[in-house]
């Protein structure tokens, strides 16, 4: 049923194919990249796109296409892991909040309000500046500041689901709270989580590229789309290709995730609101 509805949505299918394609690029990067992304060649500095270097070279003569192919690995994994962290936190806090209600619910919801009022981007920059940026810390802090909407979604599902008969049935046969939460209610509450996970990946990729752009994300020489762009900014006036292509890569990746996520949303439940 899900597949039937999903396949009807041509745009979403294209989005799905693109996302799979990007993962393939990330996995097979060493096979696809025409050059070693880290090899410096001072005789080939800032070459414009041409036959030898399809997307040109950067200020150290490195091949932009190869660096972008390797950068796919960073962007995809950061997006994925950061949102996985956010989802785990959001699901746990949302479940507890929705299931137990009362004091613990108001405490958790107040924490959500606090996190939503903090300019999280400020905190991200601050923590990265103090701790020193690394891929793991970037993933972790994006995850830590992105769980609030998922917690709210899960809590809302729990509030209605916990009143249902199957929960009462489970409780009457003496199932523990943990069992009721994780085995009975949670599987039924996950539908909006799938969708917000996929949409969240796109958001995290954008966030990482923004942080890298400001110099707080993945550090060179490791190539990421954001830091290729930053390095290219200095040479923007003479080497437009250094900023054009990484931006297009970020844009297409996020667009694919969004249309895939929207397609899944419509196929799962057309009335679902995220």
């Amino acid at each position: 049923m899900f597949w039937k509805r999903f396949k009807k949505n041509k745009l979403a299918v294209i989005g799905g194919i693109l996302v799979f394609g990007l993962f393939a690029v990330a996995i097979f990067a060493p096979l696809l990249a025409p050059y070693d992304p880290d090899i410096i060649n001072m005789e080939q500095v800032l070459q414009s796109p041409g036959a030898a270097h399809i997307l040109g070279t950067d200020d150290l003569g490195r091949d932009v296409l190869s660096r972008m192919i390797y950068g796919t690995r960073i962007s995809l994994s950061i997006g994925f892991i950061a949102i996985a962290i956010a989802t785990i936190i959001g699901v746990i806090l949302g479940s507890i909040s929705g299931y137990y209600g009362r004091l613990i619910d108001s405490l958790i919801m107040r924490l959500v309000d606090i996190m939503l009022s903090v300019p999280t981007f400020f905190l991200l920059l601050t923590v990265l500046a103090i701790v020193g940026p690394s891929i793991w810390i970037v993933m972790f802090v994006i995850g830590l500041t992105g769980w609030m909407s998922i917690a709210r979604l899960v809590r809302a599902e729990f509030l209605t689901l916990k009143e249902r008969e199957f929960v009462q049935a489970a409780r009457s046969i003496g199932a523990s709270d943990a069992r009721i939460i994780f085995r009975h209610i949670l599987p039924n509450a996950l539908t909006p989580v799938y969708v917000s996970f996929i949409l969240g990946v796109a958001g995290a990729i954008l966030m990482e590229s923004g942080l890298s752009f400001l110099g707080f994300g993945v550090q060179p020489p490791t190539p990421s789309w954001g830091n290729i762009l930053t390095a290219g900014r200095e040479y923007m006036e003479v080497a437009w290709w250094l900023i054009l292509f990484p931006g297009i890569a970020i844009f297409i990746t996020c667009l694919s995730y969004y249309i895939l996520g929207e397609g899944i949303r419509q196929a799962l439940d057309p009335k679902l609101k995220i």
Binding site: S117, V118, S209, W240, P246
Partner: protein
């Protein structure tokens, strides 16, 4: 009404202390001290001098004591001095930079609503029309677009290649010699790109939100009643539906402040605008924790104030809220 507002204010006060608590501990417990930047690079630095240095900045006390000291000073609006070479009070540095950031964000907010609300209404009233489909595509494009990249591309095309807009700053070099009308024109030219970028960044989210609240309002029974009694469609849409659909948008206004200010960090860095966003970037680069903490607090106050205004607006517009 008074009851409702005092309850809201109390909630905001608690939220505010939560914010200061979370950010203070996050900033201060992260490994690395702000004095490291000076002491690590100095070959003559001994542990004794380092200790004196840390004591001078009050970094020798345990973190929870420092939080209470921070709170006490905060009550006098004293955020401590900047760790940078000018050692100015953090609040002074922020104060002089606040107006330009608030100005750009307020103008942007005005345009966001001016554009997003009609788009949202239109695509809700005429679903599946060409313009609705275009809006849907526009929403995806807008969400997926890295805004800082768009800013760079526009800077390159309009500022460098076509040379029709200034690339950075808020004033031309000859600003002082211009007549007042040219001064306004000069500022407008400088602010065009930052405002365009800010509007672009938030436009899609709010128009999409407007579309969904409007759709919801239009599916209510009172709309059926209004149509059944023969009211013209324009009255049904603009009087009956819109009044209810616009309410949630007021709340979104309050919640969109952190996003707007976060955007300020990026576009102020790109366009070299001397606002609080640029200051935060510089402070973060220099691990200037007093300035960072002051920035987080000031921006949180702005956000909470935005929320309070939104709550008041909501209560004024919707009698159900104030009675309850």
């Amino acid at each position: 009404m008074l009851n409702y507002l005092s309850k809201k204010s109390l909630e905001l006060l608690i939220t505010f202390f939560g914010i200061t608590l979370v950010s203070f501990f996050l900033i201060n417990l992260a490994p690395g001290k702000p004095t490291d930047a000076v002491s690590d690079l100095n070959p003559r630095m001994t542990p004794e001098i380092r200790a004196i240095y840390e004591k001078q900045w009050g970094l020798d006390k345990p973190v929870h004591i420092r939080y209470f000291i921070w709170l006490k000073n905060f009550s006098k609006f004293d955020f401590g001095r900047s760790f940078s070479s000018d050692s100015r009070p953090a609040w002074d540095k922020i104060k002089e930079r606040l107006p330009i950031t608030i100005l750009i964000n307020s103008i942007s907010m005005f345009f966001i609503f001016l554009i997003a609300v009609p788009i949202g209404i239109h695509s809700a009233v005429k679903p599946n029309s060409l313009s609705d489909k275009l809006t849907t595509v526009g929403v995806f494009v807008g969400f997926a677009m890295p805004v800082f990249w768009l800013a760079l591309i526009l800077q390159l095309i309009l500022g460098v290649w076509l040379n029709i807009l200034p690339v950075s700053g808020i004033r031309s070099l000859n600003y002082e010699n211009l007549s007042w009308i040219n001064k306004i024109f000069d500022s407008m030219r400088h602010l065009f790109l930052p405002i365009f970028i800010t509007v672009f960044g938030s436009l899609v989210g709010i128009s999409r939100y407007m579309r969904s609240t409007m759709q919801e309002a239009l599916s209510q029974e009172y709309i059926v009643t209004a149509r059944a009694k023969g009211l013209p469609e324009s009255k049904v849409v603009y009087k009956h539906a819109l009044r209810n659909a616009i309410l949630p948008i007021i709340t979104i206004t309050g919640l969109s402040v952190p996003g707007l200010i976060s955007g300020s960090v990026i576009f102020e860095t790109i366009f070299a605008i001397p606002g609080v966003g640029q200051l935060l970037y510089q402070a973060a680069m220099a691990r200037d924790i007093h300035v960072i903490m002051a920035e987080v607090v000031i921006v949180s106050i702005l956000t909470l104030f935005g929320n309070l205004l939104a709550d008041i607006g909501y209560a004024l517009a919707d009698p159900r809220i104030r009675v309850k």
